[in-house]
Symmetry: C2
Subunit: 280 residues, 2 copies
């Protein structure tokens, strides 16, 4: 998480989301390749090349590759490897949830196996047992983002319920608190981060205060509706979080009516970076 903090200092808050649906690839580009898998990888490669100096990190959403089966997961693997060759920080957006030996298997898959990334997203519903096996890798500079408060409408179904005086999402923090407090890094953040969606400013301020020492992965920018104004209160001294945009960046070319997708992706990432910095 310290490296991510440093990347934000250097490059700003943009996390480029490679949630790449095959449908997102421009037709003209797709036609150049003999398989959809090659087209997918080459698309990602061009996005990485075009945005690496503007992006604090890349987030790769495994579901889009898993949907394509074995061949899709090969593209997931190659995409991560390519970003790592470029020395980018990579988040595997896997939202896995399991316990004990099974969780250990997921940790092995995503921290040392074919799908090796720097950080993964995790779902806390099964309790702290579903997080701790991943923390065995923190001395190898790995970290996790635990889903705390997501940005989708039905996040209210469970996350916003009150359990006593606190909401369920705050209880996720409570269950992690002792682990967080004993693992705080150089810049005040634990390797246990949080996924926290863009939200109204009051709530953002409350969350930021409550979940101190957690670095935030903030989804919901652009295509999902959140804007730069909402980000400020989720940060501390202009750091402590990255903001993900996927479709906003990958599909920026469509607004321009031409297929130079990597060019428009870069422009969009630059614009987003500026929008956020201007609000801080």
């Amino acid at each position: 998480m310290d490296r991510l903090y440093e990347a934000v200092e250097k490059k700003g808050h943009v996390c480029v989301g490679l949630d790449t649906s095959v449908d997102y690839i421009p037709e003209g580009f797709k036609k150049k390749f003999s398989s959809v898998y090659d087209a997918l990888f080459e698309f990602n490669k061009k996005i990485i090349d075009a945005t690496e100096d503007v992006a604090a990190c890349f987030k790769v959403q495994i579901a889009y590759y898993e949907a394509l089966g074995i061949e899709g997961l090969k593209v997931y693997k190659k995409t991560i490897e390519y970003a790592k060759e470029k020395e980018a920080i990579v988040i595997g957006d896997i939202k896995r949830s399991d316990i004990a030996d099974t969780a250990r298997m997921y940790a092995r898959a995503h921290f040392e196996g074919d799908f090796k990334v720097d950080l993964v997203t995790l779902n806390p519903y099964m309790g702290v047992d579903s997080i701790t096996p991943f923390l065995e890798y923190t001395d190898k500079d790995k970290g996790v983002f635990v889903l705390i408060k997501t940005s989708n409408p039905s996040s209210k179904d469970l996350q916003l319920l009150y359990a006593g005086e606190n909401r369920v999402y705050e209880r996720v923090y409570d269950m992690l608190r002792s682990l967080i407090e004993k693992s705080i890094g150089e810049y005040g953040y634990s390797p246990i981060g949080a996924v926290v969606g863009c939200t109204n400013s009051d709530e953002a301020g409350h969350i930021r205060k409550r979940l101190k020492n957690m670095f935030f992965l903030i989804p919901g920018y652009g295509a999902q509706g959140g804007g730069a104004k909402d980000i400020k209160n989720l940060l501390i001294d202009k750091n402590g979080g990255v903001v993900n945009s996927s479709r906003g960046i990958l599909l920026a070319y469509r607004k321009h009516g031409d297929e130079r997708f990597e060019l428009h992706a870069r422009e969009e990432a630059l614009k987003m970076r500026e929008e956020i910095l201007n609000e801080l």
Copy 2:
């Protein structure tokens, strides 16, 4: 879920868990194959052959295969395909959690893609949005098991919290209730089932009453400590649930000090079936 009900009527309550760690394969057997992946697949094949007439279904835990990367996931795929050739019902124990288009990608992966199974396990923390995309497949005879109350110690961290008068896990049911009630099948069960761990009898009775119309996938038998006595109150008229055992069955051979694993797996599955039936 109707087919699973019928399988329980015919074959009993045992769900054989193919949570196959490479470490579970007897050394003598492993040596026969040129790769660990071949050994893993052939091990699963023999377990399936030896237990298919005793098991209501098979549950394949994807984490064990994901840990082995692309080659491991090929074994996951082949294992599912082999069980389907035998006309077995297969549960993909994936515990995925995501929303909207991303959830749709997971549904595609596990209901129509390379990893095509009959039923999947899902994590509800993100709310009902994380379940509904999978229900688009119920007319193709697919179903889901939503994590409600799991059997691990830290399930108390969130699932057992009181949110008002009800516990969080009951609120998961509440959020699904209208979807469940409008999708009840031939035998009284919705294609939306629940993962409910073995637990004490009072609580089991309460859960069974509260979560009516949900078919249960019950983990925690054998290796995880739960026994046949606890099952009874989770069932209705001797049906409405399958009971998973993974290590108990896969590693039964170790208790006998010989490597005829498929023989001992079959004996263990038969014994477990009897133990459960005797308590009903």
